[in-house]
Symmetry: C2
Subunit: 192 residues, 2 copies
């Protein structure tokens, strides 16, 4: 299935657009291919776009002063990602986005999103729901962080994304869980 159709079905779940409206909506997106390891957003740079993942897998991550990495999100197909703080507030990026595997994405500029949101009520509706879903996921993860220990969070993650275990190196999973790679290693080797 091609990118346009994937996006169309994704949108259709929450918003009602005629074919013409969707074509117009879609005309604001720019398809793009990236290779494994390629960087899409770099800390300190301007951020102009958000990205809808068609295939592959991206990661959005933060690097702290001690050069430790924390992964905010693994962006799988039909997920959206960007440095939304920088994008919405027109400030420099504080987080990075790059490719875990070869990926195809659809890019949408901040300006175009606001334009289609004001032109198409249903587009605004879609983006409200998408953001809402992200908000709920973030809340849930925060709670999990406070409430569960590392092992429980590890099992939660694998239940949510079974593919991830084989797709991404373990130290990235550790960086998502917020533990050291050593602890993660001990954790799943003592599995029961």
């Amino acid at each position: 299935m091609e990118a346009k159709e994937i996006l169309k079905q994704h949108i259709a779940k929450t918003a009602t657009l005629t074919d013409e409206q969707f074509d117009y909506f879609f005309s604001h997106f720019k398809p793009q291919s990236y290779k494994k390891g390629q960087v899409i957003i770099t800390e300190g740079q301007k951020v102009d776009h958000e990205y809808f993942v068609v295939s592959g897998c991206l990661k959005a991550f933060f690097i702290n002063d001690e050069v430790k990495m924390y992964i905010l999100q693994f962006a799988m197909p039909t997920w959206w990602t960007s440095d939304y703080g920088a994008l919405y507030n027109q400030t420099r990026a504080t987080i990075n986005v790059d490719c875990i595997s070869d990926s195809e994405v659809l890019c949408l500029s901040n300006q175009d999103r606001e334009k289609i949101c004001s032109e198409l009520h249903q587009a605004e509706h879609f983006f409200r729901w998408r953001t809402n879903k992200g908000y709920l996921a973030s809340q849930k993860r925060l709670l999990s962080f406070m409430n569960n220990d590392t092992r429980a969070r590890y099992e939660e993650l694998l239940a949510l994304y079974p593919q991830l275990y084989n797709l991404v190196p373990k130290h990235l999973i550790a960086a998502y869980l917020g533990v050291s790679r050593e602890t993660l290693s001990r954790l799943y080797n003592s599995h029961k």
Copy 2:
């Protein structure tokens, strides 16, 4: 300043409504007063409304199996709160909301929100931005959780809400930071 005016100025920051449109928008809200300690949302119950805080202070919190409390949000004036997961998905509440001090709120039902969002494009626009702000705040807190130690998070919290230190009991601040009240106590008594 009365409730209506506070909401009006709050909305005006992100959406453009005529006076008539705002009057219509406002007509869906129901003012409500609560006493300190009163419960607004209880785990396991249905959730029909979200709440805009006019005065006072609410807290949204989760209780785990070991009866430990984790505070998701202190809701101060002009903040919104609810169990959004339960509200949007029409499921039973998993979190609780109650009053830290006497409070006045404006209630909006899930149904009415969706109604005015579909009737007024600008209302949809407002709620998209509000949710977006919440999403960004949640992301930021998640990062802070992974990156900073307790002391740094404590100082971050006090910088963000200086009033909180005197307004709420310390064990609630501990429950927000995700540490034991003992640790928090030692922390600020060894303050430098």
